[in-house]
Amino acid sequence: MGAKISLEKITKAFIETGSVLEEISLYVKEGEFVSIIGPSGSGKSTIFQCIGGLLLPDNGEMFLGERKINGGTGNIAYMPQQPSLLPWRTVLDNVLLGQELFQKPDKQEAQDWLKKINLSDYENAFPHQLSGGMNQRVAFIRALLSPQSVLLLDEPFSALDEFTRFDMQKWLLSVWEEKRKSVLFITHNIEEAIFLSDRIYLLSPRPAKIVQEISIPFKRPRTDLLLLENEFLQLKRDIYSALKAGGLHESV
């Protein structure tokens, strides 16, 4: 199967900070979950801004299927670090927002999904009445129900505490198994990346280059038992030393 979204030798530099991305090439296949791990400030978010069309890469090309998307917007669905729900909209209306930007929203589908994730009772509640974890779930469903077939998740769990975080990872997997869109996931948490992904790209510190590409062999659906298996721990060690060799210091 061909790549759903691919980046070919994307390079980006800023006048103030110099080179940020150097020849970043990566791809995500249809229905694949791919993570990018890199230290904070390595330019992970810059990659996303290029894909989202907010930044124009200096060099290189990006494709969605066969179509070149350099500088184009609206090609991907997005879930940011903060839930970024509109505070004046109810949960249901927030879920519909992603669709609303492009087409007439499907209210029934949104309600069905809220039911599936046990947030039916909060359909007409406002975001400030929900916990941080709940809001993040709503934000994920909003992205999942957006019409685009590729999801960009930008460190979505980094603002949550450790327990909520792990719950959210398991929850994310269970929901994603049901509606497998192509996912590109940014994180600086190695364990999270292994647990969730089919493949992982390791990024060097700025200027970011891709240091290594790692396939994760574990079968789905995955459970938390996986975290204790030797193979899992070995992978974690391998990635850690690869990142270290790539010039990464204490930030992971």
């Binding site: 907010l54 917007t73 609206g74 940011p80 509109l86 004046w88 909209r89 930007l101 492009f102 400030h128």
Partner: protein
Amino acid sequence: MVLLLFFLLWERVTHVKEIPPWLLPAPSVIFKEAIASYPLFFPDIGATLKLAITGLLLGSTIGFLIAMMLHLMPSMRNAFYPLLILSQNVPIIVLAPLLVIWFGFGFLPKLIIIILVCFFPVTIASLDGFSNVPGELKHYMRMSGATAMQMFTKVELPNALPPLLSGVKIAATYSVMGAVISEWLGAEKGIGVFMTLSSSAFRTDRVFIAIFIIVFFSMILYSLIVVIEKKLIKWNAKGGE
């Protein structure tokens, strides 16, 4: 409660010090006079309220439209912002006679004065609301492919609603005052007229009646907008009060 205490004190002082009623009438005297001369000023209330409310509605609408225009066309913003400030620096007392010369003694010059005082707080508050959108909301919208128009209607406009209503609240309290001032210039009816007549006849008690009417209706208008605010803005537990 504080208000009641204030009135009691006032009542007491006028009696003890034997202040003549043309200088400072006791609240009880004012109250009696208000009931007695009620038919005298009743038509005035209607005239002033009509003026104030029309002015407030028009002023707020114009204020909002100006804010929208300046926000959606940033080049206009730099050109017209000084003009906005200028419109507030020209003293109304000076401007009002000029308006009478230009437009006569009718409804129009009075309306223009009220609009001039009312539009400004609404414009400033709306502009603030349009531009104070949290960065992460804007980022999400852009990444998701929202157009500039969608950004405005789905994010900036609702974000501006609470400050907009705060602006209208300020405008509401100004509007009654603006109506009264505009009536000083010459009108057949209105609290402003009643006030000038009473004042020149040394009927201080009636001047106070006029003052109380102004305060009362300013407060009514204000509370009306608070009620609208509560109906419209449900999402923010702390704001909108």
